[in-house]
Symmetry: C2
Subunit: 199 residues, 2 copies
């Protein structure tokens, strides 16, 4: 990056570290910020800093939140008898966007992966089991990604939760194998929710 | 964006304002920053803020710079008898990356556009003419974009600078490297024919 002023080169470098942002996009974004009013760049920088300051994990469901318990866990309008179990916080937004789900969530923060040495105790599974003890829950919807490792974990959850007397369901197949829940379209994901089935 | 914590929603919104970043990319980037170490997010936010603080226009060539005159204008190794005229600062990097140019630059900051009410006096044209007066320049390379408005401006620059006794040149027109003759547009192919050269 010869003869590009250092602050520009540094921003291009930082932007280039982000997923899906190649060197050309990074350059375009940097020059966009430079051309546009100071307020726009400041608002972006502040949004990034505030994010890291304000966001904690909900002590109930372990979603990212700026209040505790999070808004979903606090919401009396929602159906607290259903818990939808997801692998990561970013899996919740697409489920919400389907408009087909009114229960609450539980974020595991990962998936069981023997190859990477992640066992059940590394995940928020005992916290899930603790939530099931208060007697208000009737159904656990396992909304893990349709791939081999998550599949193994889904079966594991089914095996330990079903004997406790809960209905354990899963998202319907209809999601193509290998897809990422985070990026699925509303329609497919909505159908997958509606067609959830017993194990 | 129901039930997404406000700091996340706000960052998604700010990212979504950037060119080429749609709602899905914005969401992916926001969750990426959330998942990754604080230092990465801080480095990005600081790079954005530093950019807007430190970058000024070079008083000689009007490129973005963090020192004045900019590094190119200060560089004694470069050929100060050639000035390459570009429309905007981001046009300089690709020219530098060719490794074929060792002269200096002049940034006009726009193009003459009667429809948008931009005349020559809104651009850094009188500053260019002032630079030509010191006697060290022999050639002005007009490196404007190949479109109708920029073409009009290129002709304008040619008309006012040539009579002052300078060599005024422009970037060659023709087929881009890797192009398929079969799919080239009429205009490009016509110009490639007109500008054909000896081997």
């Amino acid at each position: 990056m010869r003869f590009v002023a250092e602050p520009i080169a540094r921003l291009i470098e930082e932007l280039n570290k982000l997923p899906g942002i190649g060197p050309k996009s990074a350059k375009r974004l940097a020059y966009h910020l430079l051309r546009n009013p100071d307020e726009e760049a400041k608002a972006l920088a502040e949004a990034i800093l505030t994010l890291k300051e304000k966001i904690k994990l909900c002590s109930v469901c372990f979603d990212n939140t700026d209040c505790d318990p999070c808004r979903v866990c606090q919401d009396k309008e929602r159906d607290h008898s259903k818990i939808c179990v997801v692998e990561k916080p970013s899996d919740i937004l697409p489920l919400e966007q389907t408009g087909k789900y009114n229960g609450v969530y539980h974020v595991l923060h990962g998936t069981i992966s023997p190859t990477e040495g992640v066992g059940p105790e590394e995940l928020k599974i005992k916290e899930l089991l603790a939530r099931l003890k208060d007697g208000s829950v009737t159904e656990v919807i396992v909304a893990t990604n349709p791939n081999v490792e998550s599949e193994t974990m889904a079966m594991y959850l089914h095996r330990i939760i079903t004997p406790l007397g809960f209905r354990v369901t899963r998202l319907a197949r209809g999601l193509p194998f290998g897809a990422e829940l985070e990026y699925a379209d509303d329609l497919t994901l909505g159908q997958a929710l509606e067609n959830r089935r017993e194990f």
